[in-house]
Amino acid sequence: MFDLDLWREIFQSINKNRTRALLSGFTVAFAIMLFTILFGIANGLENTFEKFFIRTAENAITIRFGTTSKPYKGLQIGRQIRPSNKDLAYLEKEFGDNIEYISAKTSRGYQVSYKKEKGSYTISGVSPDYQYIEKAEIKDGRFISLKDVKAKDKVCVIGRLVEEDLFLKESAIGKYLDLEGVQYKVVGVYSDGGGDRQERVIYAPYTTIQRLYYGNDDIGDITLTYNPKLTVDQALVLIQEMTSKLKNKFDVAPSDQRGVRIGNGVLTGKKRLDNISSGLGVLIPIIGFGTLIAGILGISNIMIFIVKERTKEIGIRKALGASPRSIVSIILLEAILITAFTGYIGLLIGVGILKATGSSLERYFITNPSVNPSILISATIVLIIAGAIAGFLPAKKASKIKPIVALRNG
């Protein structure tokens, strides 16, 4: 029930005892502000960390094909395994549910030139899906399309740095690149968070590469991303299954480590990443918890001080007929009101500081420091509850003081 008179009493008490209110409010505001800033910085560290370590999709795997190292089913050792377009289709059919994106990948170095500018770059023949596997971000134009693949067009998508190297200040879109005598039309420019090396690659439809340079339908490697819903362990099982099916298909001995290989380096990396992330995940709550504890202790101290200071007033009120309950509620509500209000202010200041300094912190490995609002609100609520508990115990004790004892103290 809303009791206007009670709130009037509380507001008067706050208003007439401003130093006291400011003192307790400052502690709360400061604690919440620190909490926000520390949490933001910790989150910023984590953001940086993710940016540095995630080059390709976390769930990407590459299937590589080589020469057999063991004789099997009457076949000789040292046989080159050559997967083709139909093997790509086979994988899609067999593991369709567990495959998110799949692409062929034939890579080779070429001399590339545009007008007078020259350079040596890796050309990868890929499928349209490769954009998502590599997490290439299209800056200009588009990526390789299905139509390009079907028509075996001489088009290419170049990395941001290729454009910079060869086209200098011009836009590359629509221009023709010379790849060892063959003209490729540039249809897109991409950037890749994975670093410089990955922005110096040129992508072309794998079918075009097959037609122009190999004259067959060999596809080199296969890269794919598995269904992101799979756990790391499920993914490892999937990899094993793929390996054994492909080995069976190409008559490679099950124990042969070279004929068909699936690198799960990314997966082990992901495991490591998860470990470090969870390390940060432990550190962040500890920081937050520590700050909150400091805040709670501060509030508790002040509440005890406030109740002590008000002992005489409590005695007077009791002598005039205040019930213990009304004593508790007047002290408690004042504490909650101050904590909630100043907690909110601290929150605003903290977020403001993060916003103001956020971008200048990048050289300290802090990217986009920000805090989830729900965490902030729960932190404030925790402080309010702590303030309430911290206020409740002394208030309860004070409400039980015999008025005569309280009055004698004055």
């Binding site: 008490s13 005489k312 007033e313 005039l320 007929g321 205040a322 004055g410």
Partner: protein, 233 residues
């Protein structure tokens, strides 16, 4: 109005205990004005506190207006104090951040009276003690005598059956003391029952009855001819 029978009270001091009240018998009728006297340590303040339900007796009977006061919960004691008793303290005990009017209105707040009503009633009582012009001043802006008058107005606000005064003039100079006593006498003339602790003979003689305590027992209990305070003012 007030019946006390064989009242005992001890305070623990370390391992032993100090027997402060050793069987007090006291009856006070409606309209009386009683001074309780005694040297310090005689138990006079303890007795007043027990009567004021600010403290509890260990043993004995205490009946206030036919209502036995025993084993009260804090809540009940609060209600009784509010309804039956008005307090006047030596150190006034006003709330320092509330102005005179708000201080007088406080017991009415605890009665659950509406804000407007209680402000009107508080104003009425302030007028009675002659402080209408000072209603919106804080205690620190008032003199000792004025503060005590605010305290008296506050004690009267809830229209109590019994007015309890603990050394009401203890912090005041003689002239102001007599002014306050004059006022208290007027209240008594109007029919209020008043119980007052004092150690000043002249103040005690302004009451109608003097009860002398010594070492926790009543030594003497006699009616006196009231000395009117106005003759000194």
């Amino acid at each position: 109005m007030l019946k006390i029978h064989q009242l005992h009270k001890s305070y623990p001091i370390g391992d032993s205990s100090l027997h402060v009240l050793k069987g007090i018998d006291l009856n006070v009728e409606d309209g009386e004005m009683v001074a309780i006297m005694g040297s310090s340590g005689s138990g006079k303040s303890t007795l007043l506190n027990i009567i004021g339900m600010l403290d509890e007796a260990d043993e004995g009977e205490y009946i206030l207006d036919d209502l036995p006061i025993k084993d009260l919960t804090e809540k009940k004691a609060a209600v009784y104090r509010n309804k039956f008793l008005g307090f006047i303290f030596q150190s006034f005990n006003l709330i320092n951040y509330k102005n005179a009017l708000e201080n007088v209105a406080l017991p009415l707040y605890y009665q659950g009276m509406k804000r407007k009503e209680r402000q009107e009633l508080a104003m009425f009582h302030l007028e009675k003690v002659g402080l209408t012009d000072w209603a919106h001043h804080l205690p620190k802006e008032l003199s000792g005598g004025q503060n005590q008058r605010v305290a008296i107005a506050r004690a009267l606000a809830a229209n109590p059956k019994l007015l309890l005064a603990d050394e009401p003039t203890g912090a005041l100079d003689t002239k102001t003391s007599y002014e306050i006593m004059e006022f208290i006498q007027q209240l008594n003339d109007e029919g209020k029952t008043i119980l007052m602790v004092t150690h000043e003979e002249d103040i005690a003689n302004m009451c109608k009855r003097i009860v002398r305590l010594r070492d926790g027992v009543i030594m003497e209990d006699k009616k006196v001819t009231q000395v009117r305070a106005e003759q000194y003012v």
